[in-house]
Amino acid sequence: MSQDWMILLQKQNQLGKLIETNRTTQQYGLTLSEEDAQLILKECGNSLREQKRVEFGEGITPKIIYEFCDSEYIDQNDYADTIIRLQEIFYLYKNEMQDEITDDELLHLMKEQFEKVCFGDLDYLEGSCLSDFAKAIRAGYGEYKSTDGYGEYSRFQDGRGWNYEWYLEALKELF
């Protein structure tokens, strides 16, 4: 079956919704220009295609913005890029977790891990914390449902906080 019709499913007027988020995010020093918003939407479409997912309804991006806007690890310089990465990670893990987790549960989980375990490192978020959690869900873990995804950050730390390659990278950045 041709997938052209799936493009029709993506709801329109998402650009307006993104700009609207500035009303909330500006108190944290974060705003999106129209250019930023268009780039974010374009990358959102790419991520969806890459993950073979189709979006309907409001879309996840405004929710990502509202969830992460108060993070101490996001500033105006990297705001748009961070949102783009978070979108990619979100769709990747909806697939990895086989849609067993709701949008809100995953967002809450991502935010907690981002703040308290990864300290703003998106690569670590994508490659370690969420990966471990996805394995647990595929194996049948479901306790996150009772907490809406909150309070999970300590459960899946396996002492792999230190990674040799990341150490080398950090060293290079320092020197």
Binding site: M1, R53, V54, F56, G57, I60, D104
Partner: protein
């Protein structure tokens, strides 16, 4: 009635929201395709149930067509379940003393039938064990097009064009008709015929009706009572008769004999006749081929 994608997509969107319980804003391509198929299946079901299809000018909105179709799907599932339960419960089985011999066949108005699997494992597994699983797992909302079962026991009618509840309903109808036909015969006649055909009939995966019908028509062709075995001499007479006919003529002969049999021992039931006739074309070809190669006995028995 054709609907454009622009008309169907909003229905898929609503179904997707329902599917995710309004807790997700995206689904996989696979799931989206499944939901689109669900929408199309229901709309088609609704269209088939309408006696006078609407013209393009009268075309109803896709949402309405979908809702009507969905109601039809649910009704069909209920009807199929009722039919299935009625077939399985049957009516009181006749005792041996009540059953008539071949010469005193039960008159068409007095036929009473009970469900019988004739100890065939495939039939039992498919019909008695399998079909209840269909009704347990069938999802008319998000996947009405899914047949779920493999329906291993073969029926005479080609159901490949059907899917979902349509296929199951047609299948149950076929089983009902088979039980009607097989219920004509007294006592252990069916099992006797099956055993003559193949003493491993309990584990075979072949249509029981076809075997019994073939045996019946064979006996009619040589004018022999059903309880007697078709011998080599009978096979020779059949070969002589069939060699002189082409496939079309043999089919016509079989149809005539089938009609006569059902009129005498069942009723002038167009539906049962039509169902059993699905096997006649194949039987004609096999008989013609067997007559030409001197292998008529193999039609009636797989043994020796």
């Amino acid at each position: 009635m054709d609907y454009e994608m622009e008309e169907l997509v909003p229905l898929v969107g609503k179904l997707a929201e329902k599917y995710t319980g309004h807790e997700s804003t995206s689904i996989t391509y696979e799931k989206a395709e499944q939901l689109m198929e669900a929408v199309i299946y229901c709309i088609r079901e609704g269209e088939q149930s309408v006696k006078n299809p609407l013209t393009a000018a009268q075309k109803m909105p896709a949402q309405q067509a979908y809702e009507i179709g969905f109601t039809c799907v649910r009704k069909k599932a209920e009807t199929a379940l009722e039919l299935y339960n009625s077939i399985l419960s049957g009516t009181e089985m006749l005792t041996e003393s009540e059953k008539l011999s071949e010469s005193e066949m039960i008159q068409k108005s007095e036929i009473r039938q009970g469900f019988d699997t004739f100890e065939n494992r495939c039939f039992y597994d498919t019909v008695v064990k399998g079909i209840p699983e269909f009704f347990k797992w069938y999802d008319p909302v998000f996947e009405p097009q899914n047949t779920i079962l493999t329906l291993d026991y073969p029926v005479l009618k080609d159901l490949s064009a059907y899917a979902g509840i349509d296929r199951i309903y047609e299948y149950i109808r076929c089983i009902e008709l088979e039980q009607c036909f097989l219920g004509i015969f007294p006592g252990n006649h069916v099992k006797t015929v099956l055993c003559r055909y193949d003493d491993r009939y309990r584990s075979m995966i072949e249509n029981i009706c076809e075997i019994v019908l073939t045996d019946t028509l064979g006996h009619m062709m040589v004018r022999k009572p059903l309880q007697e075995v078709i011998c080599m001499e009978d096979c020779s007479r059949m070969q002589e008769l069939l060699c002189r006919k082409d496939v079309r003529e043999i089919t016509a002969l079989l149809q005539e004999m089938l009609k006569a049999f059902l009129e005498q021992y069942y009723k002038a039931d167009g539906e049962l006749t039509e169902y059993l006739e699905y096997s006649l074309q194949n039987l004609s070809i096999r008989l013609k081929n067997a007559a030409e190669h001197g292998s008529i006995p193999g039609i009636f028995s797989h043994m020796g």
